[in-house]
C-alpha cells in the first residue's frame, strides 16, 4: 500500500543533505511551511541554498534558519519583508549570498524544472541589469533573455488537504509557490492542515497530483498570522 504520510518530523526530514537546494513555498506568511522550516532547523542540514519569494521576517522560520548560519545563499525576488533584520545583518556582513530574481521568473524557473524544461526565453528583465551576462535572442521582433530552470533537491510545501497518495489542495492565496516547489523538487515534503481518506478529495479539486509529492506530515496549526 502506498502511504506517503509519515508520523514524525524526523521521518519527514530524513535524508536531507548539507548543500541542498531548498525550494520554499509561501508568500508573506500565507502558505509558508513554518513547521517544516523548524523541522529542517532541527534536522541539521547546513550550507543550504534557499529559494523563496522573501528572505524571512523577524527571527522565526527562514530568518531563524539564516540566523543559525545554515543558509549559504538565498534566491528571492523580494528580500525586504516587513522585518528583514536577520537577512540585512547577514548580507551587510557578507555572510550570505543573494540572487535577486524577478518574481515571475522565479516562479517560471521552478515550473520549468518541474516540467523538464532546462531553460526558457522571457522578456522580463530585458534592458535591465537582470539581463547582464545572459543570452539574448530576438524572436518575432522582440528581444528575450534566457533563464535557466531552478531545480530543488528538497521542496518544502504547505497544503490545506492531503491524502496518502500525496494529492494536495491549497487554501485561497496560500497556494502561491507551493505547487511549483512540489513539482520542481527531487524530494517534496508537505505539511498539511487536513489529512483526507483516499478518494475523499474530489479528483476535480486536486491542485497538485500526488506524483509530485514524496512525504506528507499532518500539521494542523490553524491560520497564518502576521507577515
Amino acid at each position: 500500500m502506498i502511504n506517503k504520510i509519515v508520523q514524525s518530523m524526523a521521518d519527514l526530514m530524513s535524508g536531507i543533505k548539507d548543500g541542498s537546494v531548498v525550494l520554499l513555498g509561501g508568500f508573506g506568511s500565507v502558505g509558508q511551511p513554518n513547521a517544516l522550516i523548524d523541522g529542517l532547523i532541527e534536522q541539521g542540514a547546513k550550507d543550504l541554498v534557499v529559494a523563496a519569494n522573501n528572505a524571512g521576517a523577524g527571527h522565526v522560520g527562514l530568518a531563524r534558519l539564516m540566523e543559525l548560519n545554515r543558509v549559504r545563499k538565498i534566491i528571492c525576488s523580494f528580500p525586504r519583508s516587513s522585518d528583514p533584520v536577520v537577512f540585512e545583518t547577514l548580507y551587510r556582513a557578507g555572510k550570505i549570498e543573494l540572487e535577486i530574481v524577478p518574481q515571475g521568473t522565479l516562479a517560471e524557473r521552478m515550473r520549468a524544472a518541474g516540467a523538464g524544461v532546462p531553460a526558457f526565453f522571457t522578456a522580463t528583465g530585458v534592458g535591465t541589469k537582470m539581463a547582464v551576462g545572459k543570452e539574448h535572442r530576438e524572436i518575432g521582433g522582440r528581444t528575450y533573455i534566457l533563464e535557466e530552470w531552478l531545480k530543488g533537491d528538497v521542496g518544502l510545501v504547505e497544503a490545506w488537504e492531503a491524502d496518502r497518495w500525496g494529492n494536495l489542495t491549497f487554501k485561497q492565496s496560500g497556494r502561491n509557490f507551493n505547487p511549483l516547489c512540489a513539482m520542481a523538487s527531487d524530494l517534496s515534503l508537505v505539511q498539511a492542515q487536513h489529512i483526507r481518506e483516499l478518494g475523499e478529495i474530489d479528483p476535480d479539486h486536486v491542485v497538485t497530483p500526488g506524483i509530485f509529492v514524496d512525504r506528507v506530515l499532518h500539521v494542523p496549526y490553524g491560520d497564518p498570522s502576521g507577515f
Partner: protein, 221 residues
Amino acid sequence: MSETAVASFKPFTRPQMAQRAAADIPEGWYVNLGIGIPTMISDYVPAGREVIFHSENGVLGMGPAPEKDKIEPWLINAGKQYVTMLPGGSFCHHADSFSMIRGGHLDLCVLGAFQVADNGDIANWATSENDTAPAVGGAMDLAAGAKRLWVLMEHTTKDGSSKLVTKCSYPLTAPGAVKRIYTNLATIDVTDRGFVVLGMAPGLSLEDLQARTDAKLHLPA
C-alpha cells in the same frame, strides 16, 4: 524655478490622482495595481463598471479590503494586505498568475515609479546601481508583460526634482514600457514624440508644468 511664478494652482490629491486613473479604465479590463498609491484606484472605479483586479500572488477577481470582523487570514494581496474576493474570483499558483502577466493577458498594470523617461523607460525598483539588496518583486514582469503600463506618481521628488526625465538615472525596471503617467500635476501620454500633456491641475499653465519637468512637454497634435 520660482515658486512665486505660480500664483495659485491646486495639485491633485492622491485620491484625485487615483480617481482620474480609475475613470480611464474601461469595463472588462483585467488590471494589476502596484503597491502604494496605485492600490487606491480600485476604490474609484465608477459604480456598475466591471473591472477585474489581479494580484501577483494568484488572486483574480479581488474585491475591497474586508471589514475588521470579516478578515480571511488566507486571503491577502501582493502588498500583503487582507482583501476580499468578488463572486467570479479565482485562485491560481504563482506560475499561472505570472503567466497572466508575462503572457500578455493583463490589459493594464499601474505602478508607482521613481522616474519615467520620455521614451517610456521606467525606474521603480532600486535607487542606486549599488543598492545592496534591492527588492524587485514582480515589477519587471508587470512592466514587460502587461498590454499597457501606466504610472501613478508625484510629479517631483520631495526636494523638487522632476521625476519625468529624458533619461532615467536609476536602474531600469523596463525600457520603453510606460504609456501614460498620472501625477499630482498632470496626465501625460508617452508617445513617439515624447511626453504629451492631456490635462493639468487647475490653475497650472503649461509653462508652470514645464518648469517642473526635466523632459520636453508637448501638446496633443
